[in-house]
């Protein structure tokens, strides 16, 4: 079954704490993504990973870093979370290059207080 799994689904953190969002996929897709979703701003690309240890900044990478040590796992790390990082984070994966479909996870809702 083709699936992208995100953990945790809901998270509340205090400002300054570290946050780890994890994503797994069972399709052996080489490309994985992290987006954040905010009302009116749509889905904004944070980071993209083209394979293990081959990561590239997206459009809004500031305040985030990523790790991809296995093809099936892609982590998003927030070192010292800020209140403006409160959002819904989506992980996605795809195969190939231009024209291939993105498969999204269910999302991780992060609240930073």
């Amino acid at each position: 079954d083709m699936k992208v799994t995100q953990m945790p689904r809901y998270l509340i953190k205090r400002m300054g704490e570290n946050v780890l969002l994890e994503c797994g996929q069972d399709m052996s897709h080489e490309t994985m993504y992290w987006y954040r979703q905010d009302p009116g701003l749509g889905l904004q690309l944070i980071y993209i990973s083209y394979d293990v240890d081959s990561n590239s900044e997206g459009d809004i990478p500031k305040g985030y870093r990523v790790s991809r040590k296995k093809r099936e796992h892609f982590s998003l790390i927030l070192d010292s979370a800020k209140t403006n990082q409160t959002s819904v984070y989506f992980c996605a994966s795809s195969s190939g290059t231009t024209g291939n479909t993105l498969y999204f996870g269910e999302g991780s809702r992060l609240i930073v207080v």
Partner: protein, 114 residues
């Protein structure tokens, strides 16, 4: 850089009326265009995508035509259904220095009323 513009943030329709959601784009290359749909509390999923030739993609009654001359990929449906209420994203796939990436528009929330 690449960008996607969806001019309507909110669209409210009565069931049975036609749907048209606007999407225009800017890209250095000749990109693929997509429409993704996200129902409440669900993940976004692909609705349809453009072809390299002049075929018009269709799915679940929705269709979209890529017009390169006007850089548009508007989403249309002849008759809206209540179940069409969702958030719709237009997106383009293009290349950066490292490889391909997908850029989304701001989204259009469609509400269909009885």
């Amino acid at each position: 850089g690449d960008s996607v513009t969806q001019t309507e943030g909110l669209v409210t329709l009565t069931e049975g009326l036609p749907v048209m959601l606007n999407c225009t784009y800017q890209s250095t290359y000749s990109p693929f265009l997509f429409w993704y749909v996200q129902h409440l509390n669900e993940a976004p999923k692909l609705l349809l995508k453009s072809f390299t030739d002049n075929k018009r993609p269709e799915h679940q009654g929705f269709h979209a035509t890529l017009h390169k001359s006007s850089s548009s990929f508007h989403l249309q449906k002849s008759s809206a259904q209540l179940s069409d209420s969702a958030l719709y994203y237009c997106a383009l796939s293009s290349f950066n220095n490292a490889g391909a990436k997908l850029t989304f528009g701001g989204g259009t929330r469609l509400t269909v009323r009885p």
